[in-house]
């Protein structure tokens, strides 16, 4: 049978949705779950072969594409644009364009913020609070680029503004690095996987962490003391996309999967499974109330306006960030 090899995040391709797709189209879906870096590195290792559809974040497409040419331009005529929230589609197209060719369309979006055990750490309101000596050994964040961006904003810098100037960006990152290095003694570990963090929070090993909104809401469902909080300096907004690898062998199936997934009723189900929001136009009306409530609690009006969306990362900046992160991990 025809086959679609999908490289995606865990939770983005629930078994029932895959089954429904196979039933409708006769195409089987082989799902590999991964994260941004691994998606890119896998495609880089294969020069864009091995998968028919990938789902990197929108800010991580243009850079790697310029560097390694691992994606194909999308044929927008095969995508039903009206299924997307217009503004989000446009923004994504803009961010993922290289040489005026579009490489990505939006799928799921969400935010980075703070997961807090409000009983144990009631005072946490911004990223800098993770460095509060009172919480020594009980906080965590990911040693990945969102932490750099987040702490930059929390300390009054604007990293996105410095994107164009590598030198300035490096200087800024050095400052952030220093700040994080200071904060490091407070951190129990740098978390890697979502479940790892959630388990640590549940067991009480961690009381506050920088994390994805969905994780916070999952915890909240079990224990109302655990909350997802949009930090004062602003939550970070991310959008995961659909992009077609350069040597994908089944583009038709890929487009079919995209269009299928953006159908409101499907998108709503996927969003519910992932615990995030979808770029599908009209799906929000179909979504369950719970998530909406949690969203409303975490994001008052001001917080929504304060969400900072990642712009596309120019090639080369990740080098700078990488070194800062390595230093952070290696230093003591």
């Amino acid at each position: 049978a025809e086959k679609l090899r999908l490289l995606t995040w865990s939770g983005y391709a629930p078994a029932d949705i895959v089954a429904q797709f196979t039933k409708e189209t006769g195409i089987e879906v082989e799902v590999t779950t991964s994260n941004n870096e691994e998606m890119i590195s896998k495609l880089r290792a294969t020069q864009g072969a091995g998968f028919d559809l990938a789902q990197p974040s929108q800010d991580r497409i243009a850079g790697p594409q310029t560097e390694f040419g691992i994606y194909k331009p999308l044929d927008m005529s095969k995508i039903k644009s009206d299924q997307f929230i217009g503004s989000m589609l446009e923004a994504t197209k803009k961010n993922t364009s290289v040489d005026s060719k579009v490489y990505g369309v939006p799928h799921i979006w969400g935010t980075d913020g703070l997961v807090v055990n409000t009983k144990a750490a009631p005072k946490v309101a911004d990223y800098n609070d993770l460095c509060d000596p009172a919480l020594a050994g009980k906080t965590s964040f990911r040693a990945k680029r969102p932490a750099l961006i987040a702490f930059a904003f929390a300390n009054g810098m604007d990293p996105f503004a410095a994107y164009g100037d590598a030198k300035a960006y490096a200087a800024l990152m050095d400052k952030v690095g220093a700040k994080l290095a200071e904060c490091k003694k407070n951190v129990k570990f740098f978390w890697e996987g979502n479940d790892q963090l959630l388990n640590a929070v549940r067991s009480g090993e961690i009381v506050a962490a920088m994390a994805w909104d969905t994780g916070g809401w999952k915890l909240n469902a079990d224990n109302p003391d655990m909350k997802f909080i949009a930090p004062k300096s602003g939550a970070l907004g991310w959008v995961d996309t659909f992009a077609i690898p350069a040597k994908g062998r089944n583009d038709d199936a890929a487009y079919k999967w995209i269009n299928f997934n953006m159908r409101p009723e499907i998108a709503a189900k996927v969003a519910a499974a992932a615990g995030n929001f979808t770029a599908s136009n009209g799906a929000d009306k179909l979504m369950e109330g719970k998530l909406k409530d949690q969203f409303a609690e975490s994001f008052p009006k001001a917080a929504i306006d304060n969400i900072r969306w990642y712009p596309a990362v120019p090639a080369g900046l990740e080098e700078i960030e990488g070194k800062v992160l390595d230093r952070l991990k290696a230093g003591s």
Binding site: R5, L7, E30, T32, K42, A45, T46, Q47, A49, G50, F51, E192, G193, N194, D195, Q196, L197, L198, N199, A200, S203, K247, R249
Partner: protein, 279 residues
């Protein structure tokens, strides 16, 4: 004079306790009815083996496709690796022990070399080299050569690169013990070369062939470093375990580990039995 002192004996006992403590806790907590593999003991359950996922949100390993597939992938790698290692290892052992040619010491040293290359380096070098080769071939032939891209076939090659050394050493060691007079005697009694090989040499080597095969199987199953760099979309067991462990410990991993221990224990006892038969 060699009578061991009591401190020494206590040390030995403590050592074996130390050796098995981690395995024991892994095995025990596979049966703990708790979402985390940690104390306190919350009662005995088989949920992590056969559960449907209703209780802890994750299905037991015997019904979870993630684990089943990764075990399957491990076999898809280990069996070809073992077969190739035995086959090529025998030929190599022959070259080491029997052939005479210039540069033999050099070849012998080269065969040992993979043992002193860190697994990660072996992995990246093979990844980089095959990436270049495949790109070159694709430009030239205008076809996809996916099997040389990261994925199980490449993992097989990567593991073979050092497991072959070990298989070669095992078989060569046995071949070295072989009294060539046995072959000459058979030949002298009128056997053809093929018959000598079949009736004398191979029967003599067979314990080493089985041993090398089992060792190769085990090493392939447990290899992590090299595999990590070469794996594609299909993850063998250690890679899947690593992925899950980064996601946070769950008794499902304990359950898989216990199965692995049982399998290894089984293979190891077969190995022990064959090597005893050898004596």
């Amino acid at each position: 004079m060699n009578r061991p002192s009591i401190t020494w004996k206590l040390y030995i006992a403590a050592f074996y306790l130390f050796l098995f403590a981690p395995l024991l806790v892994v095995a025990i907590f596979a049966f703990n009815a708790s979402p985390f593999p940690s104390p306190p003991w919350r009662g005995f359950t088989l949920e992590w083996f056969t559960g449907s996922g209703a209780v802890f949100g994750k299905p037991g390993v015997l019904v979870d496709p993630i684990w089943l597939e990764s075990i399957g992938n491990s076999f898809k790698v280990a069996i070809p690796v073992a077969l190739l290692a035995v086959l090529l290892g025998t030929v190599n052992a022959w070259v080491l022990e029997r052939a005479e040619f210039r540069g033999k010491t050099f070849v012998a040293m080269m065969m040992l070399w993979p043992l002193v290359i860190p697994g990660v380096v072996l992995g990246i070098s093979i990844l980089a080299f095959f990436s270049r080769v495949t790109n070159g071939l694709e430009d030239w032939l205008q076809t996809d050569l996916d099997f040389l891209r990261p994925g199980l076939p490449l993992v097989v090659l990567g593991q073979l690169s050092f497991i072959l050394t070990i298989a070669t050493l095992i078989i060569a060691a046995r071949l070295r013990k072989f009294d060539r007079a046995l072959e000459e005697a058979a030949f002298d009694l009128g056997a053809s070369r093929a018959r000598v090989l079949r009736t004398v040499t191979l029967p003599f080597l067979s314990p080493a062939l089985i041993g090398a095969g089992l060792v190769a199987l085990l090493m392939s199953f447990e290899n992590f470093n090299t595999t990590l760099m070469l794996v594609g979309s299909e993850a063998p067991l250690p890679i899947a375990m690593y992925g899950q462990m980064r996601e946070g410990a769950s008794p499902a991993i304990n359950a898989v580990s216990l199965l692995l221990m049982l399998g290894v224990g089984g293979i190891a006892s077969v190995f022990a039995l064959t090597s005893k038969a050898e004596r």
